[in-house]
């Protein structure tokens, strides 16, 4: 039943550009990019029990990697950009993770927030490299070696780029599914539920947290790189701490207790934000109230509500 829903959802996303308006199809692009980011973030949040308030760092890193490669290094291949972003994400995450995973809960959150802001300040201040607060253009990348510069921008985005993003998301989800259902994933869950017990069972708690952090950073960097082409520009707000907060919000909205919860969260967040902004300019007011409500009454998010409703009749039977 679960597999059927997933196949249906993928088919729906694949068919979307043919059915819905171009405008809504374009909104799917950031959704897919964020979905990749959140799959990674949730390995840390939902599966390892560590909430990062600094993952915008890796989104920014991925996005700026793409922007830098396309404008300064004349590298336009998206495959190469994604691989570089992933590698850089891992490289930057390694020392940060090594320090951060020594702490849990609030200290972990604060330390990741501080690292995120270091990167933000770096991006903002070293404008010769990064363009400062104006950001940098992210030139249209070529896909699978095909230069598509001649295509009109919209056709490119809802056509080849759309399906490319979908393929990346599908691959990322598949890989993450394998990770969380491997012995490694089980160890992470054990660590989340009872670190002391995990330690006595011979699981290297710090080492496993470290791996989870680095993997989540790689996902965030890849997702970040995918965010660039739709707007054609990257700017420092991608790395700001409120952006880190927003992605945690998305995860919570969909539900951190389930594998696809964060993906649903990203979808709902982006479309709801878009809709609210078309009605009133104050989306933060409404989203803030929504977040407060989720924290108080439904900490397991939307999918948590669904599974709770399903669980009740089952319990009676």
């Amino acid at each position: 039943m679960g597999a059927a829903v997933v196949i249906l959802a993928v088919a729906a996303i694949a068919a979307a550009p043919l059915v819905v308006s171009t405008y809504h199809a374009l909104l799917m692009l950031p959704f897919m990019a964020y979905a990749v980011v959140l799959l990674g973030l949730n390995l840390l949040f939902g599966y390892t029990g560590l909430v990062s308030f600094g993952h915008a760092l890796f989104i920014g890193l991925g996005a700026y990697t793409g922007a830098f490669l396309t404008t300064h290094a004349k590298i336009r291949s998206l495959e190469l950009i994604l691989i570089t972003a992933a590698a850089l994400g891992a490289l930057v995450a390694a020392p940060i993770a090594a320090l951060c995973v020594r702490y849990v809960k609030i200290y972990f959150g604060m330390l990741t927030l501080a690292f995120g802001m270091v990167f933000y300040t770096f991006v903002l201040k070293f404008y010769r490299l990064t363009g400062g607060d104006e950001g940098m253009p992210f030139l249209r990348p070529s896909l699978l070696g095909l230069s598509l510069d001649a295509m009109p921008k919209i056709d490119y985005l809802v056509g080849p780029y759309y399906y490319y993003s979908l393929a990346v998301l599908a691959l990322a989800a598949l890989a993450m599914w394998r990770i969380v259902h491997s012995p490694f994933g089980l160890c992470l869950k054990t660590i989340r539920d009872n670190p002391t017990k995990a330690e006595t069972l011979g699981i290297g708690v710090t080492r496993y947290r470290f791996y989870a952090f680095v993997i989540s950073a790689v996902y965030a960097a890849v997702g970040g790189a995918l965010l660039g082409p739709p707007t054609g520009n990257v700017d420092p707000t991608l790395a700001y701490w409120t952006h880190s907060g927003n992605i945690v919000f998305m995860t919570l909205l969909g539900g951190f207790t389930s594998f696809f919860g964060p993906v649903v969260g990203a979808f709902v967040f982006i479309y709801l934000q878009n809709w609210v902004m078309s009605v009133v300019p104050y989306w933060r007011l409404i989203f803030g109230a929504m977040l407060a409500l989720i924290v108080i009454v439904a900490p397991e998010g939307l999918l948590g509500l669904v599974s709770r409703r399903r669980a009740v009749p089952a319990a009676r039977a």
């Binding site: 200290y107 959150g109 701490w241 104050y282 989306w283 803030g288 977040l291 407060a292």
Partner: protein, 264 residues
């Protein structure tokens, strides 16, 4: 003190700033003497601090028993709401109390000129710091607060009404935030982003000083202020970067901060 890391303190600061601008604007419009503009400023700062009570009763009290992550997210929700609430009320353009900054004139100290208003603010913050110190260490209420911070269950078992303590402490904290925002306003302009900007600085201050330590917060604030001033004059690009690097260094070496309590 409540063991809640409040991301929203910057938002309260911004709220105080806007309230200060409005109060002073109204005061000047009503023809009050410029020399006394600090009175409506302080009153406005204190008055909007009451929002802290609403926030505590309406939102925060539901998450005391939850994981710290949810507490953090709750305060993040407040950040989002407050930012737009301020935009709705005061618009997006920066607001300032033009001209009043120098209403008290300037004085020369050690060969440099400084507006007298800056001195007033420095003295006021010293007085507030001393008052808070007195409240925490010398009064019954202060003892209750500290006991609650140390061991909430035990304090409750001894017959202390936790709900009232939390409501009071949070409101007091909010008032200090809004008052701070109001006091800074003659020297700068109120902007809707100032809340989320300030939080990272406040965060640096608290981390360097140590969570839950008043003395630490004071020293931390001093350290951050001086370091920023030095960095600006030496190598401006490094200004905030330096602060964060120090925060990280402190967190790594002494996660409880320079003045934080020892690991329990």
């Amino acid at each position: 003190m409540q063991r809640i890391f409040n991301l929203a303190c910057g938002s309260f600061y911004a709220l105080g700033a806007y309230a200060g601008v409005s109060a002073v604007g109204w005061y000047v419009g009503a023809g009050g003497p410029p020399a006394l503009f600090i009175v409506p400023l302080v009153l406005a700062g204190l008055a909007v601090g009451a929002v802290g009570f609403v926030v505590e009763r309406g939102l925060l009290r539901f998450v005391y028993d939850r994981d710290e992550t949810f507490q953090l997210l709750m305060t993040f929700a407040i950040v989002l709401v407050m930012e737009d609430a301020i935009r709705m009320t005061w618009g997006t353009a920066p607001r300032s109390t033009a001209g009043l900054y120098l209403a008290y004139g300037q004085i020369r100290v050690l060969g440099a000129t400084a507006p007298v208003y800056n001195l007033i603010v420095i003295l006021a913050s010293l007085a507030i710091a001393l008052a808070i110190g007195w409240l925490l260490t010398r009064t019954a209420f202060g003892r209750i607060i500290r006991a609650t911070a140390d061991n909430r269950d035990m304090a409750e078992a001894l017959g202390i009404d936790m709900r009232r303590v939390y409501a009071k402490v949070f409101t007091l904290g909010t008032m200090l935030g809004t008052l701070g925002g109001a006091l800074v306003i003659p020297a700068t302009a109120a902007m809707s982003e100032m809340g989320i900007e300030l939080i990272v600085e406040a965060f640096a201050v608290v981390v360097i000083g140590g969570l839950g330590s008043m003395r630490g917060a004071f020293v931390g604030a001093l350290a951050v202020g001086i370091l920023r001033a030095i960095a600006i004059s030496v190598y401006p690009e490094l200004e905030m970067l330096l602060i964060y690097l120090i925060v990280i260094a402190v967190l790594v070496v002494r996660p409880r901060g320079l003045f934080g309590a020892a690991e329990a």
